[in-house]
Subunit: 305 residues, 2 copies
Amino acid sequence: MGKLLVVGSVALDTVKTPFGEVTEVLGGSATYFSTAASYFTSVDLIAVVGEDFPEQHVAFLKSRKIDLAGLERRPGATFRWKGAYSHQLNEAQTLDTRLNVFETFRPKIPAQYSSPDVLFLGNIDPNLQLDVLQQVKRPALVACDTMNFWINGKRDALWNVLQHIDILIINDGEARALGEDTNLVKVAKKILARGPKHLIVKRGEYGVLMFNDKQVFGAPAFPLDDVRDPTGAGDTFAGGFLGYLAATGNRSPEAMRQAIIFGSVMASFTVEAFSLDRLRILDYKEIETRFKEFKRLTHFEDIEA
Amino acid sequence: MGKLLVVGSVALDTVKTPFGEVTEVLGGSATYFSTAASYFTSVDLIAVVGEDFPEQHVAFLKSRKIDLAGLERRPGATFRWKGAYSHQLNEAQTLDTRLNVFETFRPKIPAQYSSPDVLFLGNIDPNLQLDVLQQVKRPALVACDTMNFWINGKRDALWNVLQHIDILIINDGEARALGEDTNLVKVAKKILARGPKHLIVKRGEYGVLMFNDKQVFGAPAFPLDDVRDPTGAGDTFAGGFLGYLAATGNRSPEAMRQAIIFGSVMASFTVEAFSLDRLRILDYKEIETRFKEFKRLTHFEDIEA
């Protein structure tokens, strides 16, 4: 079982959807990522929280066997995000962002984390992503996320990061902004030419596409009759995807495809409740069951020809 | 090989996309449908055109072995549609609609068409769809399309139609309007409770979902690096889907899933060029090749558990 290192945010979220609202609940990209990944492999977390970060959240992450030696606690307040979703649940409207201690976050990799098998660079300043890369022995697999803020504001630094990673995991709007084209196949060609061996495009309720220079893999999202809060779905996807790959150590195209499905399965659970509430009560048997349901959802017989 | 009867529109389209524009080219729901279906089975077409309908288009439809005994030619002008697409190519903006002879279209089913194996009621007034149903011996399979104009304006008549059909094929916006919910799983339950055994939701570049009371099947759209004009994709999908089902006579869940893929394959060709230009030069071997590419696109190994 491989060691998975993640760098990203731990936050307190205030979220309103048509199905309810929650105030200052556990959130953050690294939180969703590491919790999802923890079902598959051991996870080391690098993030920062403030003095006000509730002990119960630390206890929850520990209960998932996530190693918190890299969870820095600094004077000041924890990162807060406030957002709302309309009925379509497609895109969050950010109402307020208070970076607080996250604003001056400089990830420091503890010595015992410096040889991960798999590294996930969550959505932070690309210069910090580069800095993390320089602090570790090159892992067998490096993946990263980003967002429009960096695509528009630090494009050169971001392209520099992309030269050093294996997998870029972003949503479709970000992919189109980075590739400067509306056609995703063209976008994928452009991005793959600049470094990453794989591009994974997250499309929310429409599923996911994975491109490399040889093939494309596409999967729909799992149709659910009760979606409460899409917050964290993308980070959960990435956690399930890389958690599975770290666990198997297998990098075959077939393992990559199964990893995409495990990521999609994890995301499908996250959106069923606010915050990480569905993951809190999830067991591995449910993950396997939903994987098999995914197979039934997408399977068809090939033709003979 | 089963007989497939389609009732719908034949039109002259003027279309502008970021990749070009065309003026008064062959279009219409029944045109795309029947051309796509003609690759799988024999098709009888019920539609109306005006005196100005170019003979070359009649010749093209005949070249596809589509039976045109039901193609009425009436005094006046052929139905014209003018539309434009922005870069995302997701939704057409209608610039002008001139129903012309289509406005007073009253489908009359010739005696030799009155026992089809499969019937497709294209997007026309639900009262006319009912009228067509009354003119034929109940086919083994009846599918229908509709649009927001009828969902909003003739909802009761439409629900009446839906009691008499097997498969409703609509896009996701229409499904949400008809089911009065944003969640497609809930929408499907509502619609299936009112008559149809299957609901097929077309999602453009995101693919398709098929619901019945036992299962859901989902497939992404085929990723293409050169999409020129999405006009007719949905009707082409329906034509490939029902053409394949008419041809096999097999109604098993497995055949339905393969039919969804054949429909998706046909739609993926249509969008590669304006009007029906890609279908004009398409041969069946290309269809089989792309079906197999679809299998590679979506395949993953199940887990053992």
